[in-house]
Subunit: 133 residues, 2 copies
DNA sequence: CTAGAACCTCCCCTGGAGGGGAGAGTCAAG
DNA sequence: CTTGACTCTCCCCTCCAGGGGAGGTTCTAG
């Protein structure tokens, strides 16, 4: 199967499939004499795996490592478990940061509603934000 | 005051100050004959305002708009309140997304610990992720 | 007067996952 | 035989807030 058919059956773009080849997560089985990428049926499963892994927040570089382990005959489970554990911890930290920021915005918002714009200090750009700094 | 002194007193880099000029959030009062940026004392307050606005998640383009309103003699409060309200709503949405993702990762993690790597289907890249797809 | 510090503009680089398009080769049907 | 669809590689562009450095002025202290 050539790249166009794979892209269509996978419901994605030719550009994406080429990009996946380039970063090493979905390489063609072989090339035709003229250099066309040729894929087998399993390319479709591989594509779905890549998407599933992306959907849980893994980056293509990490997905490539998982695939490389598998291709070396090792079971990547341990690596994957580590990876998702770390990613979950990172997410926790990120979520906490965003919550702090959101709470700050909410309190700025509440305070701003009690401020009178006419009592703005003309020397400041905006007392809503200056006051919150 | 020239750019180097401003950068030092503000505790930032010359590059950053030049960048702020370029995007229009902190422009010099004037230029010397030789083209050097010359700043007044208020540049320091302006700088702090920009940093405060960045700290609550506003982008330089938005900060520029706030400053532009102010420079046109309008009070940007309404605009700012809208902006932070929208940003807070965006953050809520983003936080919810990340929480979903994190919960998914946690459940993958829990399930993975009960799987036996030796029972991995060799045709799959990784049953941990495939199973979660 | 001269060395070196400070300043200028201009251009490329980062990271992630591709998108857009140029220019050229290849393949199938009419 | 030709046309049009498909494919190839290569290069630039996106977003964001700058960082790095080249190559060229200008200022300042000794």
């Amino acid at each position: 199967m050539k790249i166009g058919e794979l892209a269509q059956r996978a419901g994605t773009s030719v550009k994406t499939i080429r990009y996946y080849d380039r970063v090493g997560v979905l390489c063609p089985e072989e090339r035709s004499e003229s250099g066309y990428r040729l894929y087998g049926e399993d390319a479709l499963d591989r594509y779905r795996f890549v998407r599933a892994a992306q959907a849980v927040g893994l980056r293509l570089g990490e997905i490539r490592e998982i695939i490389a382990l598998r291709d070396r005959g090792e079971t990547p489970c341990g690596f994957v478990v580590d990876l998702i554990g770390r990613r979950a911890a990172e997410l926790d930290a990120r979520i906490a940061e965003l919550q702090v920021l959101r709470d700050e915005l909410r309190s700025l918002d509440r305070r701003a509603r009690h401020l009178d714009p006419r009592r703005c200090d003309p020397r400041l750009v905006c007392h809503v934000i200056d006051a919150g700094a």
